[in-house]
């Protein structure tokens, strides 16, 4: 019932979310959240995942921390968490 995980969508994926910058989703792991997003916004899952793994040029953060260091797609999430999706960009 409660969908209390906030997901921030980058410009490049907003065509999927009717241009919404922030959407709500639910799930106990990151992969469950992505599955829920894909039900709500069909097609978005395929832009995030490739062969069951996070795409190389997609970075996902739970509460500002890169999920690749938190257990990847199996990283646990809970209500109140904030997920940010960003394309990988250069610094320097």
């Amino acid at each position: 019932m409660t969908t209390a995980i906030e997901v921030r969508i980058p410009t490049i994926l907003r065509p999927f979310t009717k241009e919404q910058k922030v959407v709500a989703a639910s799930g106990e792991t990151l992969s469950a959240v992505i599955a829920d997003l894909d039900v709500q916004y069909p097609g978005i899952g395929e832009r995030l995942l490739e062969n069951g793994a996070l795409r190389r040029f997609i970075n996902l953060y739970v509460n500002d921390e890169d999920v690749r260091f938190l257990g990847g797609l199996e990283a646990p999430v809970k209500n109140g968490d904030s997920i940010t999706i960003l394309p990988a960009v250069a610094g320097g």
Partner: protein, 311 residues
């Protein structure tokens, strides 16, 4: 170049047994950590016979690497062409021009990814130019493996955390690898700047970019830090310890303080070394340092950074 001081920050450290240490990379010849990268890349290219007197060097840069390369190029008689995103501070442009560099501006949308793309294109069309390419040049990592890392370990053998910015990834890959070899339990922490939307304005995901130097196995954790948190920490460092740093240092300090908080919660001792990448001079025009005490809220101060490549 290098051999910069590592200074203790007793006022900002969260507890007597959880200590913060600042590696003062602003004390390099052109005022940033990038002097290490630039000089190492030029030395290596000279050794390999790639750089001959009068040669032209090409480099994509959001500022500091270009400034370092420009200084060395002028002294050693090279021409430098920098590809730089148009949304960078005017001070960086002035410094580059002061040392004789030619600037080619790349579009703001896409940030440094676009600068890298334009530079790679130019390198292919001008094979006589020397493309040092900091994102893939092993001399960049080696400079930190042989310099930054050993210097920190010599000054602070008890170091438990090393926190640095993630741009080319050279600092973390080089110094991180060295420190991990000395202490397998050390935490290597990356702080990457989270910019405003324009910078992430790629046309498609395949335009994303991961530097060739990056090896995720070196890192323990990686944080994304926005402009607001970064500016708040820059001001804190200024007010509490009197250190005048650039904005990317604020992002790094934010992650360092998070590590300190965790150490306290876990009842552990910690010696957290973090990088001060540069001083604040090049960012004065952004207005983030103004009216520290009063009226200008962090919110207002960061508004101007929204479309800027501030790190």
């Amino acid at each position: 170049m290098g051999k910069t001081p590592l200074i203790g920050l007793p006022r900002l450290s969260p507890a007597p047994n959880v200590r913060l240490w600042a590696k003062m990379e602003d004390r390099n010849p052109t005022g940033s950590i990038k002097d290490r990268t630039a000089i190492a890349m030029i030395d290596a290219a000279e050794r390999d016979g790639l750089l001959k007197p009068g040669a032209t060097i090409l480099e994509p840069t959001s500022g500091n690497t270009g400034i370092s390369l420009a200084m060395v190029s002028q002294v050693r008689g090279y021409k430098l062409i920098c590809v730089m995103p148009e949304n960078t501070s005017p001070e960086r442009r002035q410094l580059l021009e002061m040392w004789g560099a030619t600037i080619i501006s790349s579009a703001a949308a896409g940030g440094s990814n676009e600068a890298v793309r334009v530079a790679k294109d130019l390198a292919a069309k001008n094979p006589e130019w020397v493309f040092l390419y900091q994102y893939g040049n092993p001399a960049n990592t080696l400079a930190h493996y042989e310099g930054t890392g050993p210097e920190i370990f010599a000054d602070l053998p008890t170091v438990t955390h090393f926190v640095a910015g993630l741009g080319t990834t050279g600092t973390l890959m080089g110094a991180g690898r060295f420190l991990r070899e000395k202490n397998p339990n050390i935490a290597i922490i990356a702080a990457e700047p989270r910019y405003g939307e324009v910078v992430y304005g790629l046309r498609n995901i395949d335009e994303g970019f991961v530097p060739e130097l990056y090896d995720a196995s070196i890192l323990t954790r990686r944080f994304s830090v926005g402009a607001e948190d970064s500016v708040r920490r820059v001001r804190e460092l200024l007010e509490v310890e009197g250190i005048f740093s650039g904005i990317s240092t604020g992002a790094i300090l934010h992650a360092a303080l998070a590590m300190g908080k965790e150490a306290i919660e876990q009842g552990k001792d910690a010696d957290i070394a973090f990088i001060v990448c540069d001083a604040g001079w090049k960012y004065l025009s952004t207005g983030i340092y103004g009216s520290v005490q009063a009226e200008k809220s962090i919110d207002q101060a960061t508004q101007g950074l929204d479309d800027q490549l501030w790190a």
